[in-house]
């Protein structure tokens, strides 16, 4: 029974973490907070992959002299190693975009950005009309 | 024995997390984040001993360095308002 619960517990929490990241990305207006949400989502996906690679009673995949040792699956580790570094590149790009948007609009709130865009369009429309 | 130390570290992690989440000023939060870093450095080492392969203490060395640099960076941002690139 307790094996059953703990056997799927990791998956459940990882899915809930994923949805918390998605919720932050959907509902928060601040662009910085959205990037934090993306980071949470990413980390949960990493955890999901690493959980697939775990073998109970195994050790880290660094070879020892003992021949009968059980090693955890090293393949997900490699994939996630690549993904972490690419994730940081994504974060840096997002932050640079945010800084640039703040320079152009003076705010990083989504609603204010679209409002000032609307005002600009309206003024342009009036100019064209005249 | 190592399991007992791990449980104590977990309890103190939870206690410090309370301070990190509802700290009154930002300095409280910075202090709590620094202490959590120390607790995790110890936790990784003790976890290695508990699992019987203590070769992976390098990770705790990296943590200790990163923790110090991160805290000092936060404090510098608070002091000067930049990280020195303006």
């Amino acid at each position: 029974m307790i094996d059953q619960i703990f056997g799927v517990w990791n998956y459940w929490i990882v899915f809930i973490l994923m949805m918390i990241g998605l919720y932050i990305v959907i509902s928060k207006k601040s662009l910085l907070k959205k990037i934090v949400g993306l980071a949470i989502f990413q980390t949960s996906v990493f955890l999901l992959y690493i959980t697939f690679g775990k073998i109970a009673g195994g050790t880290a995949p660094i070879l020892t002299d003992n021949v009968n040792e059980i090693y955890s699956n090293p393949l997900p580790h490699v994939l996630i190693l690549t993904a972490i570094v690419v994730g940081v590149a994504t974060t840096a790009l997002g932050l640079a975009l945010t800084v640039r948007i703040n320079k152009a609009y003076g705010t990083i709130n989504e609603d204010e950005i679209s409002a000032s865009d609307l005002v600009e369009y309206h003024e342009k429309y009036l100019e064209d009309k005249n | 024995m190592f399991l007992a130390v791990l449980i104590a570290l977990a309890i103190s992690f939870l206690l410090i997390l309370v301070r990190l989440i509802n700290g009154k000023t930002t300095f409280d939060r910075i202090l709590a984040a620094n202490s959590i870093g120390t607790i995790i450095v110890l936790g990784i080492s003790v976890h290695g001993f508990y699992m019987g392969r203590p070769e992976f203490i390098d990770i705790s060395i990296v943590y200790a360095l990163i923790n110090f640099i991160g805290t000092v960076a936060v404090l510098k941002l608070f002091d000067k308002g930049t990280l020195g690139d303006k």
Partner: protein, 188 residues
């Protein structure tokens, strides 16, 4: 063996707690501190799931460089979020997330239990890689031998991605006016 699974469950629950508190913080600096702590706990989680190299990378890159990047960006950005009333859009978002997570949890009953030796993920390539790393390549660290040799093209692609991202960041943060043209303008 039950010990390590309980440690995993505790750590992942801790991550959930931190993530829930990240949602509602309004001061940006405490959001960043909580995100750093979240990364640290994630790295501890990777250590307990036997992924030592991943934990190393997450510690230096996820907890270190990401936090410093956020701080460096924060020095150009407003320090506090605007307060926002709970409105209809939040309810839509909560409904979407609840439905999707319910579906995912329902699907998780078809996944194999954590940590069984006979799981399908462990049946094909891993054993070959471990034996090959011992016999053909001769490096004790299996992850390194896969990363550099068996899947070298992945690493090459990663390098290209990081190079592109670096150029994009430089282009975005550039003023648009080079120093030489500024000096020329001043001379005129």
């Amino acid at each position: 063996m039950i010990g390590e699974i309980i440690i995993n469950a505790f750590l992942v629950t801790l991550m959930l707690t931190i993530a829930i508190f990240i949602i509602n913080t309004r001061k940006v600096i405490s959001t960043i501190l909580l995100t750093g702590t979240y990364s640290l706990v994630a790295a501890l989680m990777f250590v307990s799931l036997d992924a030592v190299d991943v934990a190393f990378t997450e510690a230096s890159v996820g907890a270190g460089i990401s936090t410093i990047l956020f701080l460096a960006a924060l020095s150009y950005l407003p320090k506090e979020e605007k307060e926002e009333k709970f409105n209809l859009k939040h309810i839509y978002a909560i409904c979407t997330c609840t439905i999707v997570s319910g579906l995912l949890i329902w699907a998780s009953y078809d996944l194999p239990l954590v940590g069984q030796l006979e799981n399908p993920a462990h049946q094909h390539l891993a054993q070959d890689f471990i034996e090959g790393s011992r016999n053909h390549i001769g490096i004790p660290n299996v992850v390194t031998s896969i990363l550099a040799s068996y899947r070298g093209y992945d690493t090459f692609g990663e390098t290209v991605v990081i190079y592109t991202a670096g150029i994009a960041v430089l282009v975005l943060l550039h003023d648009g006016v080079s120093k030489i043209s500024k000096i020329n303008k001043e001379k005129k």
